[in-house]
C-alpha cells in the first residue's frame, strides 16, 4: 500500500501508570517534509517520537509508519529503516566516531569497503574531517558529536529520520552551524524528518510542518506558514508570540 503520509496517528493514547501522557492523538505527518513536534517539557513530544520507532507501544489507537500498521513483526529491521539521533548525540563512548557511525551496518555484516565509502561521504557532507573520525566521542566537541550522531542516523540511508532535540545541548553559535549542516543534509532529498524540539524558532526555521502539543493533546497541526498566520487557539498564539518576537 502506497503511503500517503510518513506517519499517521489515529486516536492514539499513552499513559504511564495513572499519568496520561498522550490523549486523542490524530496526526498525519507529511512525506518528504521536516515536521517539528513542539511543546513544553512534559507535553509528551518525546513519547510521541518513541511511539513511531516502537520504543513505546500505544495503549489505544492505531499507528501507521509509511503505511505499515504497528506493531511490526521484525521490529529491528523496522527501526533500521529510520534514522535516530538524540540530544547529546547518544554516541557510545567505547567506540570511535567512525565505529559509532558504522555500528549497525557492521552488525548487519556489510562489507568494510562499502561501509567506509558511505561513512566518509556522510562525514564530508557534515564537514567532519576524516582525522576526527578516529577520535572517541569524549575527544570531540558537542557540535562535532551531534554531527557524528547525524551521520550515524543516516548511515543506512533511511527515508525517515527521527530527531529528539538534537541541537539543544550545544551553544547558540554551534547550533546555527548545525542548522546549516542539517539544511544541507535534507535539501533536495525525499527525506521525511520528525524533529522534536521545545524551541519554536528552531521549528520554524527547519520545519515545513508544525505539530504543537499542549499537555498531551495536539493543539495544532499544519503547514508552518498556516500555523504562523492562523494560530488555532490562545495557547498556540501565546507560544508563537513569546518565542518568535
Amino acid at each position: 500500500m502506497a503511503a500517503s503520509a510518513a506517519v499517521e496517528f489515529r486516536d492514539v493514547a499513552k499513559s504511564y501508570g495513572d499519568l496520561a501522557v498522550l490523549r486523542e492523538i490524530n496526526l498525519s505527518l507529511p512525506l518528504a517534509t521536516t515536521t517539528a513536534i513542539v511543546g513544553a517539557s512534559g507535553s509528551g513530544k518525546t513519547t510521541l517520537l518513541r511511539l513511531i520507532n516502537a520504543l513505546e507501544r500505544p495503549d489505544a489507537g492505531e499507528l501507521f509508519v509509511r503505511g505499515r500498521a504497528l506493531p511490526v513483526d521484525d521490529v529491528e529491521a523496522f527501526r533500521r529503516g529510520m534514522g535516530y539521533a538524540v540530544q547529546g548525540a547518544g554516541l557510545f563512548p567505547h567506540l570511535s566516531a567512525y565505529a559509532n557511525i558504522v555500528l549497525v551496518a557492521r552488525a548487519l555484516g556489510q562489507d568494510e569497503a562499502t561501509l567506509r565509502e558511505r561513512a566518509l561521504a556522510l562525514a564530508v557532507r557534515m564537514q567532519l574531517d576524516e582525522a576526527l573520525l578516529e577520535r572517541y566521542p569524549g575527544e570531540l566537541s558537542g557540535g562535532q558529536q551531534q554531527r557524528v550522531g547525524l551521520c550515524r542516523a543516516l548511515m543506512l540511508a533511511p527515508d525517515l529520520l527521527l530527531l529528539d532535540e538534537p541541537f539543544s545541548a550545544v551553544d547558540p553559535i554551534t547550533r546555527v552551524e548545525l542548522y546549516r549542516h542539517f539544511e544541507a543534509l535534507v535539501d533536495g532529498r525525499a527525506l521525511s524528518v520528525v524533529l522534536v524540539t521545545h524551541d519554536m524558532r528552531e521549528a520554524v526555521r527547519l520545519a515545513g510542518h508544525l505539530v504543537i502539543l499542549n499537555a498531551g493533546r495536539v493543539a495544532q497541526s499544519g503547514a508552518t506558514h498556516d500555523v504562523l498566520s492562523a494560530p488555532a487557539d490562545a495557547y498556540v498564539a501565546r507560544l508563537l508570540e513569546e518565542q518568535l518576537q
Partner: protein, 503 residues
C-alpha cells in the same frame, strides 16, 4: 579507522589467550607411564615417599609427587580410586583405621581383607608407641624392658594426653604389665624437652622419632608384645606394574628402627627430604650417585610447581570467567534472580578455603580436579558480581539509543553492553586471578601440587627455607599476573573506558 574495530578484536584475543593457556597447561598431565607417589603430611611419610620416588626414578619410572595429603583416609581413598599409585603405610594403621580394628596385623592377613590394593613386604622398622628414657638413666638403673619398670616405682612417668586415654596406650599397658605408677599427662611436644632436662623420667614416643637420636633417649623393649606393630610398607593398587613392585621390593630390610630414627633426626636437624633420601639411597648402594645437583633440582621443582600452579589457576579462572560472565548476563536480565545468585556466591566465599578444598574431596577425590573446582567457586563471585554491577550501571539512555538504532538484543549485548562493562568486568577477573593464585597454594593439601607443595612441606617441618621456596614464587607470580593483566587490559578495554584514559 582501525581503532574502531579494536574492542571486538581485543575480546577475541582474550578468549584465544585463555584457551591457548588452558590447552598448553593441560597438556603435561596427559603423559603415560607415570607413577604417582604420595605421602601423608608428617615428616617420616614425606621422607619415605621421597625415598620411594627417587628409587623409582633411578629405575626409569616417571614419578609425580603428591606429597602432604591430609591423613590416612584421604591417602587410602586416593589409592583405591587410582588417583595415586603408591604411598608408604603402616600395618597397624591399615588394621585400625582402614579395616576397622582387626587383630591380625601381619601383611598376609591384611592383604587378604583388602581389595584392589595391597601392602608390599615391610621395609623393616616398626613405628609404634614405645616408652622411652634418657639413655644415661636407663643404663644407671640397669633396665631395658618395660617389665623392668615394676621394680622402679619411684620413676616419674609422664605421658601425652592421647596416650593416657587410648586403649592401646597406658590403660592397656598397665593391664598387661601391672605397673604401679600413676602417670600424669603432658603436651607431647614438651615431653622430650622435659625428659632431656631430667624433670620427668619416662614418657611415650613413637619408636622412630628423630628426637630419640637427638636427645640421646633409649626405648624400653615391649617384652610382652603389648603395642600393636606399625611396620612400614609400600601400599600400592593392583594395577601398579610388576617392575615398579620389584623396584620397591629393593627397600625391604634396608631401614630398621634406629635407621629410621637417624633419617628422621637428619630432617629434624634441617636437611631437606630430597637430600636425606638421596644420601640414604646412595649409602645403601641402591642408587649410584645423585642424578643431579641440588641447584638444578631446585629449578626443576620450581618450574614444575610454577607450571602446575598456573595450570590450576588458569583453568579455574577460565571456567569462572565463562560461567561468571554468562551468569552475570542472565542475572542482569532477571533482576529477581540477582540477589539469590549473588547471595549463594557470597556464601561460597565465606567458606574458609581449606574447608572448601576439604569439602571437594568426597565429591571429586584428590588431585587437580577438586582443587580446580574449589578455585573456580572462589573466582566466581568477584567476576559475577562485577559483571552484574557493571551491566546495571550502564546509562539507560545509551541502551535506549542502541535499541532505537536497530541493534538486536544479542548485538546490544556484544557491541554495547559488554564492551561498556569491560573495565569493571576486568577488575573482577583481576581480583579473581589474584585470589586464585593465593588460594592455589592451599591446594597442595589435597594433592593438587603447585607452589603450595613446598609451603605445606615446610610448615610440617618448620623449615623456613622450604616455605619461602613456595611463598616467594607465589608472591612473584601474583605480581606478574597483576602486571600481565594490566597489559591485557590495555588491549581489551577501549581507551576511553580505561582508568586515566581520555574521555
Amino acid at each position: 579507522m582501525r581503532r574502531g574495530i579494536k574492542p571486538t578484536n581485543g575480546t577475541h584475543s582474550l578468549w584465544a589467550l585463555i584457551l591457548a593457556l588452558a590447552v598448553l597447561l593441560a597438556a603435561p598431565s596427559a603423559r603415560a607411564e607415570t607413577l604417582r607417589v604420595a605421602s601423608k603430611n608428617f615428616n617420616e611419610s614425606y621422607l619415605l615417599g621421597e625415598i620411594a620416588a627417587q628409587l623409582l626414578q633411578a629405575r626409569g619410572f616417571d614419578v609425580e609427587r603428591r606429597f602432604g595429603l591430609g591423613g590416612t583416609l584421604i591417602c587410602y581413598n586416593a589409592l583405591v580410586g587410582r588417583e595415586i599409585d603408591l604411598y608408604v603405610e603402616y600395618t597397624g594403621t591399615v588394621a585400625q583405621a582402614i579395616l576397622g580394628g582387626v587383630a591380625d596385623t601381619d601383611v598376609g592377613s591384611l592383604n587378604a581383607r583388602l581389595t584392589g590394593v595391597r601392602l608390599l613386604t615391610p621395609i623393616g622398622f616398626n613405628n609404634s608407641y614405645a616408652l622411652v628414657m634418657r639413655r644415661q638413666l636407663l643404663e644407671s638403673l640397669g633396665v631395658s624392658r618395660v617389665s623392668d619398670l615394676l621394680a622402679q616405682p619411684q620413676l616419674d612417668i609422664v605421658v601425652s594426653h592421647e596416650f593416657l586415654e587410648r586403649p592401646d596406650g597406658w590403660p592397656g599397658l598397665v593391664q598387661t604389665y601391672a605397673l604401679p605408677h600413676e602417670p600424669r599427662g603432658i603436651e607431647h611436644g614438651l615431653a622430650y624437652q622435659a625428659l632431656a632436662d631430667g624433670s620427668i623420667d619416662v614418657t611415650d614416643a613413637y619408636s622412630t622419632d628423630g628426637e630419640l637420636e637427638r636427645y640421646d633417649l633409649a626405648l624400653l623393649d615391649d617384652d610382652r608384645g603389648f603395642f600393636p606393630r606399625y611396620l612400614a610398607a609400600p601400599f600400592v593398587h593392583d594395577e601398579v606394574s610388576a617392575g615398579a613392585v620389584a623396584a620397591l621390593a629393593e627397600l625391604t630390610g634396608r631401614i630398621d628402627d634406629l635407621g629410621m630414627q637417624r633419617l628422621n633426626a637428619k630432617v629434624l636437624a634441617g636437611a631437606d627430604f630430597a637430600s636425606v633420601a638421596s644420601d640414604f639411597l646412595v649409602a645403601e648402594g641402591l642408587v649410584s650417585a645423585p642424578s643431579d645437583g641440588a641447584e638444578s633440582r631446585l629449578w626443576r621443582e620450581l618450574r614444575r610447581n610454577v607450571l602446575r600452579h598456573l595450570q590450576l589457576t588458569a583453568i579455574a579462572l577460565g571456567l569462572a570467567i565463562a560461567l561468571g560472565v554468562g551468569l552475570g548476563v542472565v542475572v542482569y536480565r532477571r533482576p529477581r534472580l540477582a540477589s539469590a545468585v549473588i547471595y549463594v556466591c557470597g556464601l561460597l566465599q565465606t567458606i574458609p578455603s581449606i574447608a572448601l578444598l576439604a569439602l571437594m574431596i568426597p565429591l571429586f577425590g584428590i588431585g587437580l580436579l577438586p582443587a580446580i573446582v574449589a578455585l573456580f567457586l572462589y573466582a566466581l563471585l568477584p567476576i559475577l558480581r562485577n559483571t552484574v554491577v557493571a551491566l546495571v550501571s550502564i546509562d539507560g539512555e545509551l541502551l535506549r539509543t542502541a535499541t532505537a538504532i536497530g541493534l538486536s538484543r544479542a548485538q546490544r549485548l556484544l557491541r554495547v553492553q559488554l564492551p561498556l562493562a569491560m573495565p569493571a568486568l576486568f577488575a573482577g577477573v583481576r581480583t579473581a586471578a589474584v585470589i586464585s593464585v593465593g588460594t592455589a597454594t592451599l591446594a597442595a593439601f589435597i594433592g593438587a601440587g603447585g607452589l603450595g607443595d613446598p609451603i605445606v612441606t615446610g610448615l610440617s617441618l618448620n623449615d623456613t627455607r622450604l616455605i619461602l621456596e613456595g611463598a616467594v614464587p607465589a608472591a612473584v607470580l601474583a605480581i606478574l599476573i597483576e602486571l600481565s593483566f594490566e597489559v591485557l587490559e590495555r588491549r581489551v578495554v577501549p581507551p576511553p573506558l580505561r582508568s586515566g584514559g581520555a574521555g
